[in-house]
């Protein structure tokens, strides 16, 4: 079993604190994505795990070894870099065999391993080429091959798909999922693309300014975001967030947001925060019928659905309407909300607040 554990790990570059203190436990065989905006410390976290950066304090364990003072070579990891970092002066075959060579694997065994990996990633016709003679997608596969060939206990991937075009990215995403399923190895995957994180991960670690915001499976991240940041960061189009308050409407919880008073199907018992941030996802805004009116501000047809920006008396909402809709800008429409799915966050600390009975 190869667990990866970060314990109170911090990292400062001179005066800039990149990671103030990180606690994270990645279970054996998991596919964990580190997700967050640019500069939030994803690469730094991964590079500390790889041994390419020394943490300022704290401990990192891979399996039962504390690896903080181990060289990268001794950590039994493999890493795929965003730039692929293929050795330009070596052929594809030499690139893939390099980790084996460095570990003293005999030449005959290297050839066997190379053949296996080349078959797995369909690299056979490319083995004699130099990286400069490959397309982006092919380079990416070679970089994966170099990581796979050694069968390390943990794979680290730093935005490996970000240099590929959209269709190739979708294809490689599927291949990576399949690869993880087949190998069953622990993988730590850095990305700022939430679609990648949502589709591939068993759990997602959402980071912001070096701090872990939420660490949970994709559906929980999406359906029960732990705070306002995660709520706003995950989901495209983004969740509408607005200030509101809670009240007791004859035993029912009532949310006042903008000029709307939304009765929720939850009891109003127990303590509740004074002020809240109300979060409403686009798919929970039902356009057509309902008790409220809104003006159409913007219509963005995407083919499969249409994204509609609404203004309900000063409250900005986004809705997804199926198909290419005949809505016009400036038109007034009626709408309803999926009330049981409204997200509530305590305004004082931004944390998720759950009404009793949800």
């Amino acid at each position: 079993m190869v667990q990866v554990v970060f314990e109170k790990v911090s990292k400062a570059y001179g005066d800039t604190v990149a990671i103030p203190g990180l606690d994270l436990v990645i279970e054996s065989g998991e596919f964990v994505s580190l997700l967050g905006p640019s500069g939030c410390g994803k690469s730094t976290t991964l590079r500390m795990l790889a041994g390419l950066e020394q943490p300022s304090s704290g401990s990192i364990r891979i399996g039962d070894r504390d690896v903080v003072n181990l060289a990268p070579a001794a950590r039994d990891i493999a890493m795929v870099f965003q730039s692929y970092a293929l050795y330009p002066h070596m052929t594809v075959a030499e690139n893939i065999c390099y980790p084996l060579k460095k570990r003293g694997v005999a030449k005959a065994d290297r050839a066997i391993k190379l053949a296996e990996v080349a078959a797995l990633l369909q690299l056979e016709p490319l083995l004699a080429r130099k990286p400069g003679q490959l397309s982006g997608g092919q380079q990416q596969r070679v970089a994966l091959g170099r990581a796979l060939v050694r069968e390390p206990s943990v794979f680290l991937l730093d935005e490996p798909l970000s240099n590929l075009d959209a269709s190739l990215r979708a294809h490689m995403r599927a291949e990576l999922i399949e690869l993880h399923r087949r190998l069953g190895k622990t993988m730590v995957y850095v990305t700022h693309d939430q679609l990648e994180a949502m589709t591939m991960s068993s759990r997602i670690a959402v980071m912001r300014a070096g701090e872990l915001q939420q660490f949970a499976p994709p559906d929980e991240i999406y359906n029960r975001p732990a705070n306002v940041f995660v709520a706003g960061f995950i989901g495209t189009p983004a969740m509408a967030l607005a200030d509101g308050s809670l009240a007791d409407g004859g035993g029912h919880l009532v949310v006042h947001v903008g000029s709307l008073a939304v009765a929720l199907p939850f009891a109003a018992n127990g303590v509740r925060p004074d002020a809240v941030t109300v979060g409403i996802r686009p798919e929970d805004v039902l356009v057509g019928e309902g008790p409220w009116q809104a003006q159409v501000r913007l219509v963005e047809p995407t083919g499969y659905e249409t994204i509609v920006a609404l203004d309900a008396d000063g409250l900005a909402l986004t809705a997804r309407v199926p198909g290419s809709n005949a809505l016009r800008v400036g038109e007034t429409v009626a709408f309803d909300l999926r009330r049981e799915r409204i997200h509530l966050f305590d305004k004082s600390d931004g944390r998720r607040w759950e009404p009793a009975g949800r």
Binding site: R47, A50, G51, L52, A71, P72, A73, I77, A78, M79, F81, Q82, S83, A85, Y87, P88, H89, Y98, P99, K102, R103, G132, R146, R150
Partner: protein
């Protein structure tokens, strides 16, 4: 861009080449002219008769071969010393963070800005005091003092163009830092190293001033000063021999250039590392 016809380029290029090459051509021609023809009242461009007697005399009657060997040893050792120090130094300047790194780098450049004449006397006194005066080693040290800063700066920009991810990848793949340096950085920097080595070699091969001041025995004299002192006296300049010696002096450089030309031009073109 529209492609210009090749003959226009030739029309412009060849006269320039001829202009620059003429003195060299004259040197070559003079070196094979019989002595009688050399001072005839009607100078000839092409020799009426070709003779190699001057070459034979230079090689057999003079200490030319001794000087040649000295120059070879001198230029080669200077190149080896300068390249081994500057490759490691440039790598350190590019990759490691330590206090004073930038200051160090600019100080190195500053020494390069000093005219070398002002350094001769102090250098001479220092070499005397460590007992190296009048030896080839003293020249190796002297040349290193001005070739090294230059080499460091040249190699620094080469190494700065090598993506750090390559070394990181090598280290994750099982190499030590030194291993990553040898496996990845050196091959990547090779064009830069070759051009720097070539510049250093030429610098040492052609240097005159320091050789004149620091060395005055035939055992340690390199070609530049050696040829001058043996063939130019107050009374007489042995033109034919001088030209033959000059031709022989250029041969090693020509051979080296022909051999490394490809690397040299790719060295100049580097810096735009393909992403």
């Amino acid at each position: 861009m529209k492609k210009r016809p090749a003959w226009i380029a030739s029309l412009v290029a060849w006269p320039i080449v001829l202009l620059i090459a003429f003195p060299l051509l004259w040197m070559l021609i003079t070196s094979v002219k019989p002595a009688a023809e050399l001072f005839s009242t009607s100078p000839t461009l092409l020799p009426k008769a070709i003779t190699f007697e001057h070459y034979v005399r230079v090689l057999t009657d003079t200490p030319f071969l001794q000087y040649f060997a000295n120059s070879m040893i001198l230029a080669t050792s200077t190149t080896i010393v300068v390249i081994s120090i500057s490759v490691l130094g440039a790598y350190s300047l590019v990759r490691f963070a330590y206090p004073g790194r930038e200051t160090l780098a600019s100080l190195v450049l500053f020494t390069y800005l000093l005219p070398s004449v002002v350094l001769i006397s102090p250098l001479y006194l220092m070499l005397v005091s460590i007992g190296l005066a009048n030896t080839l080693a003293s020249l190796v040290i002297a040349y290193t003092t001005f070739a090294l800063p230059y080499a460091l700066w040249l190699l620094r920009s080469f190494m700065a163009g090598i993506p750090q991810d390559l070394e990181s990848a090598a280290m994750v793949d099982g190499a030590s830092r030194m291993g990553a340096f040898v496996d990845v950085v050196l091959p990547q920097a090779l064009p830069g190293i070759i051009s720097t080595a070539l510049f250093t070699f030429i610098l040492a091969w052609n240097e005159y001033l320091y050789a004149l001041v620091l060395v005055n025995s035939d055992e340690a004299r390199p070609l530049t000063t050696g040829v001058m002192t043996m063939l130019i006296s107050a009374f007489n300049i042995e033109w034919s021999l001088l030209m033959a010696a000059s031709v022989l002096m250029s041969v090693p450089l020509i051979i080296i250039f022909a051999f490394f030309q490809r690397h040299l031009t790719s060295g100049f073109g580097a810096g735009g590392v393909k992403g």
